[in-house]
């Protein structure tokens, strides 16, 4: 479980997160949705401590993360995996080296054990034959999958994904979504996903938080979202002409 209480974050006097309180459950795929620039990435980065919040608390299960120092955060970071908006694989390393890096740094496993674990993870994301490719040689979807493999290699208890399927075709998007959702169930992870893709919302959204201009505007499940009578949320959900027509026809 991850909980944020009254977090406020501003940059140079401009408030980007305005008093957000929210709880994300264990073993669930939690979605943060909102328009571009609404503050999703800032919220996610605040939750993992890449941005320091101005005020408010963040809890990882019952540990208050926001007041910990670097050393104690490091202990929690071993349980955290994160997939960045652009993948963020190390350019100078191959896919296999990227996935292996956390094992190299934080475990005392033998080389064979590490390689086996890397193989397992890459197989899990269907990248069996990309071990020795460099990030520049991968397609967008492959980068995302390699990033997932790296995020799960240490068996995280918390998984953060910043737009895991932006820039991918609908089919590949669904593959990635399902992959994350399956992993979440399999290992009982607390997963938080940023997205503005309505397909993902309807596929895997168990808990959905809608952020509007830095405020938590709405929260609920994917079953509630179509019935919600929140104007900004409806504008977001039914943005496309197709969705509007679909809504009309339901009515």
């Amino acid at each position: 479980m991850i909980k944020a209480q009254n977090i406020i974050k501003s940059f140079e006097g401009r408030t980007v997160l305005n008093d957000i309180s929210v709880e994300f459950g264990t073993g669930k795929t939690n979605l943060i949705i909102g328009r571009s620039g609404s503050g999703k990435t800032v919220l996610l980065k605040s939750l993992v401590g890449l941005h320091e919040v101005d005020s408010g608390e963040i809890y990882y299960d019952d540990v208050c993360f926001s007041t910990l120092d670097f050393k104690h955060r490091k202990a929690i970071r071993k349980d955290v995996g994160m997939i960045f908006q652009g993948g963020a694989l190390l350019d100078a390393s191959t896919v296999a080296e990227n996935v292996k890096l956390p094992l190299d740094l934080f475990t005392d496993q033998s080389e064979e054990e590490k390689l086996e674990r890397v193989n397992d993870c890459l197989k899990r994301v269907n990248l069996d034959n990309a071990h020795n490719l460099y990030p520049s040689e991968l397609s967008g979807g492959m980068i995302k999958r390699a990033a997932i493999a790296r995020a799960i290699v240490m068996n995280p208890r918390y998984l953060f994904c910043d737009e895991p399927n932006s820039g991918l075709d609908p089919q590949t998007s669904i593959v990635i979504d399902n992959l994350i959702s399956d992993i979440t169930k399999e290992y009982n992870i607390t997963t938080i996903i940023n997205t503005h893709d309505m397909n993902s919302v309807m596929e895997i959204g168990e808990k959905i938080v809608f952020i509007y201009e830095g405020n938590k505007w709405w929260e609920g499940s994917k079953d509630d979202i179509l019935q919600a009578d929140n104007k900004e949320l409806n504008d977001f959900v039914f943005a496309s002409a197709m969705a509007k027509r679909a809504k009309q026809s339901i009515k």
């Binding site: 970071r77 994160m82 908006q85 694989l89 190390l90 350019d91 740094l105």
Partner: protein
């Protein structure tokens, strides 16, 4: 002015982070070897080309300027040696390396910053400053003095070659000049300077890259900045060290 103090403060904090206890020695050793190749070995060619031409040019200049029956010819060799050892092989080579290595480091680390690779390391619990920057500093501080020695040798050879090719002076005089009034301490002085310069170039360039933000334009700017600031720092440090070590 305030900006300067802020930058110096942030730079100091970054260096503290860089020199905190490494995560795992073995990984660091591997990275140091890698950086030695990337930053040191790969600079040998440039150092060699520049040194050989400067050595030759200095000898030629001296020979033309000192063309007088009252000045002994061996002074040309002597002057070439002094120029190469005291200033060229350390200060000028460091400036050139600031251009090559400094911009390379700043743009590499800057790109890692804006593509969130540094954030990714932090999330894993890695001390990204130490992981990325320490191996570079160790590698250059260790390797640059060798480049200085190499540059001295090549430069002096350059002078010898030009004397032999053009016949502007007797090569035996040149060799005599090289041995005239020679103190080993001069070489030590050059090497000590180079150690400082290596640290300056690598740490300042890393700093510029590490705090790059925004887009690729900013990375370009930060790498230009790295070269400018480390060059100025080298010149100031050169004066200070000369005053301290030579008087």
């Amino acid at each position: 002015m305030f900006k300067w103090f802020e930058n110096i403060g942030r730079y100091t904090l970054l260096m503290q982070k860089v020199f905190s206890r490494p995560e795992k020695m073995r990984i660091y050793r591997e990275r140091i070897m890698y950086e030695m190749e990337a930053l040191g070995l790969n600079s040998i060619g440039l150092t060699a080309i520049i040194s050989v031409f400067i050595g030759a040019a200095v000898t030629l200049q001296m020979a033309i300027t000192l063309e007088s029956p009252f000045i002994p010819q061996y002074l040309i060799g002597y002057a070439t040696r002094e120029v190469m050892i005291l200033e060229f092989s350390s200060t000028v080579v460091a400036l050139i390396l600031a251009g090559k290595v400094g911009s390379n480091i700043a743009s590499e680390i800057g790109t890692m910053r804006i593509t969130e690779q540094i954030d990714a390391l932090e999330i894993m619990g890695v001390n990204s400053a130490s992981y990325l920057i320490l191996p570079k500093i160790v590698a250059t501080v260790f390797f640059f003095p060798f480049l200085a020695i190499f540059s001295m040798l090549i430069g002096i050879t350059g002078g010898y070659s030009i004397a032999a090719i053009t016949g502007i002076m007797k090569t035996s005089d040149y060799i005599d000049g090289l041995q005239y009034c020679f103190y080993l301490s001069e070489i030590w002085y050059a090497l000590v300077k180079m150690v400082f310069f290596a640290f300056i170039v690598t740490s300042i360039s890393s700093y510029c890259g590490y705090y790059a933000k925004g887009n690729s334009l900013e990375v370009g700017k930060s790498s230009t900045q790295a070269v400018v600031i480390s060059s100025i720092a080298i010149m100031i440090c050169n004066l200070v060290l000369t005053q301290l070590l030579r008087t």
